[in-house]
């Protein structure tokens, strides 16, 4: 198949780390162009202007756009310097994702594999920070909670220095719209919205039977994207059939299935399009899961996700 339209550039101080991250992300996103840009121009630890600019050039060739992920301080500084000196048409097609390097790379690669647009791939990377949980990362934490050095910079840094701040919140109802809002927490200047990840990650209740029906939306804030009250919601439950549960491959499978729908879909309170959130549920075989959806195709979406969970992903 053709390569997806969005490539990733992985900028690290270490060539081995960049190549390893590309290898890891490539396992779940075989068609995405993943370009490691690690080490200095002469192969030492550090970041090199020419290494990064060469990778960016290759990433955005053939009409592609690219999301950049960086590890320690100077990786970001070098990437920003390259973009400061790059042509405007290149800068316009590049997003710097302020995200954890490995988790962000995997999340962004899966989104790119699904055919997500540039902004949504960048948001998928940024949202990966939320999978760490903890007070500092919690969407309800004060905006300044992560302020300070590069040790805790995900929540505080601007999404990029190249002036590419765009009014993302996408078309309401587009597959990426909800993730965009969730990522708004991580992306400094954007308005915060009560994101679905703010909900507790446990099943509110555990019905074994698969059920379907309208829900009053009592556990939703109404601000989750579609304009609230008028949006159809659906809810179903399922039992994980495969022994090893929601590990990376099944999670990626679910995320890809979800990409076909317009509704916001959650499993036990986490965004089903975020592979890392799904994996971090730690759901093993036999776990009861609650699937909820909000949006025009909510009932179909819930049915599809429940069916996949019950089928066991082709595993024993």
């Amino acid at each position: 198949m053709d390569r997806p339209a969005v490539a990733l550039v992985l900028v690290s101080h270490s060539r081995a780390l960049a190549e390893g991250a590309a290898e890891l992300a490539g396992q779940m996103a075989p068609d995405v162009l993943l370009l490691p840009a690690g080490g200095t121009d002469d192969g030492r630890l550090g970041t090199g202007f020419d290494v990064v600019s060469g990778a960016i050039e290759q990433a955005v060739s053939e009409g592609r756009s690219a999301v950049l992920l960086t590890d320690l301080g100077s990786a970001l500084l070098t990437a920003e310097s390259v973009l400061e000196m790059a042509d405007a048409d290149v800068v316009a097609r590049v997003r710097l994702a302020d995200a954890p390097f490995v988790e962000g790379a995997v999340a962004a690669a899966v989104a790119a594999q699904d055919g997500a647009a540039l902004e949504d791939v960048a948001d998928a990377a940024r949202a990966a920070a939320l999978t760490f949980g903890g007070a500092a990362r919690h969407p309800d934490a004060p905006a300044g909670a992560g302020e300070g050095g590069e040790t805790s910079g995900w929540a505080a840094r601007e999404p990029g220095a190249a002036g590419e701040q765009t009014g993302t919140p996408g078309a309401a109802g587009s597959p990426g719209a909800l993730r965009t809002q969730a990522a708004g927490v991580a992306a400094g200047g954007r308005p915060m919205a009560p994101a679905q990840t703010a909900e507790p990650r446990h099943a509110p209740d555990a019905h074994v039977a698969t059920g379907m029906g309208p829900e009053a939306g009592a556990d939703r804030s109404g601000a989750t994207g579609g304009g609230g009250t008028g949006m159809p919601t659906a809810r179903g439950t399922a039992v994980l059939r495969n022994r090893f549960g929601l590990h990376a491959r099944p999670a990626a499978h679910l995320a890809r299935t979800a990409a076909a729908f317009r509704s916001a879909i959650e499993v036990n309170g986490v965004d089903v399009r975020s592979v890392l959130s799904l994996v971090s549920l730690g759901a093993v075989g036999g776990t009861h899961l609650v699937v909820t959806a909000t949006g025009a195709d909510a009932p179909t979406a819930v049915r599809a996700i429940v069916a996949e969970l019950e089928e066991g992903f082709g595993e024993a």
């Binding site: 200095t40 121009d41 030492r44 630890l45 550090g46 970041t47 090199g48 202007f49 020419d50 320690l72 301080g73 100077s74 500084l77 070098t78 920003e80 310097s81 400061e84 000196m85 300070g148 050095g149 590069e150 040790t151 840094r157 220095a161």
Partner: protein, 214 residues
């Protein structure tokens, strides 16, 4: 007096010498609170710039041309954060020095642009134990010296003194930016390597300018 492209070339060569002479000291400072490569990285960057100057077929025409060559070479050879930080500083400074001669106001504009570049790239504020702690007082002193009618050499000398004081003042500070911030309280007790190299480089500029007067 004014400063011209010959001053700029001599300043870069002198900077390379100064960095070479202080290489071990900078490495040692960086080893205390960082990854220990600051002296080595800067030495590599300035040496590479001198090599490029030597290889030029046509001498650079303006101060800005020299600064641009320095900026791009540092960005591609340094490897650590100092590459993009100094690179951005000199690149911004190059943009305001597309002139054949710099008077005191132009020297101030050059330093201000450099500080602006450092802050834009590193997002640091004064007091965070970074090169901003040397650059900021240097710019303030340069502005004051120019206002009081000092010539470019006097402006740079005032900036160099203030940068040295600023670098020394980073000793007790706890780093909250950059690699040193991982160390927390342990980062106090030594001067910041970036602030120290900033002071050395501005001193080299001042000394070269003073020589131009005689």
């Amino acid at each position: 007096m004014t400063l011209d492209v010959d001053w700029a070339v001599r300043w870069v060569r002198s900077s390379a010498d100064v960095v070479a002479a202080h290489r071990t000291e900078l490495i040692e400072l960086d080893r205390q609170i960082g990854d220990g490569d600051h002296g080595e990285n800067l030495h590599r960057g300035f040496s590479a710039t001198v090599a490029k100057l030597d290889a030029l077929e046509q001498p650079p025409a303006q101060v800005g041309d020299v600064l641009k060559l320095l900026a791009t070479t540092l960005m591609s050879t340094v490897g650590g954060a100092a590459g993009p930080l100094y690179g951005t500083a000199y690149l911004r400074a190059a943009k305001v020095t597309g002139l054949s001669e710099l008077d005191s106001a132009a020297v101030v504009a050059m330093l201000e642009a450099g500080l602006e570049g450092i802050v834009a790239r590193g997002k640091a504020s004064p007091g965070e134990k970074t090169m901003v702690d040397a650059w900021s007082p240097a710019v303030a002193a340069a502005v004051a010296a120019a206002d009081s009618g000092q010539d470019p050499a006097g402006v740079l000398a005032a900036a160099a003194d203030a940068a040295a004081d600023g670098a020394q003042a980073t000793v007790p500070l706890v780093a909250t930016k950059g690699r040193a911030s991982y160390l927390g309280e342990r980062s106090a007790g030594n001067a910041d390597p970036g602030a120290t190299s900033t002071a050395l480089l501005i001193r080299a500029a001042a000394d070269t300018a003073a020589q131009a007067k005689v």
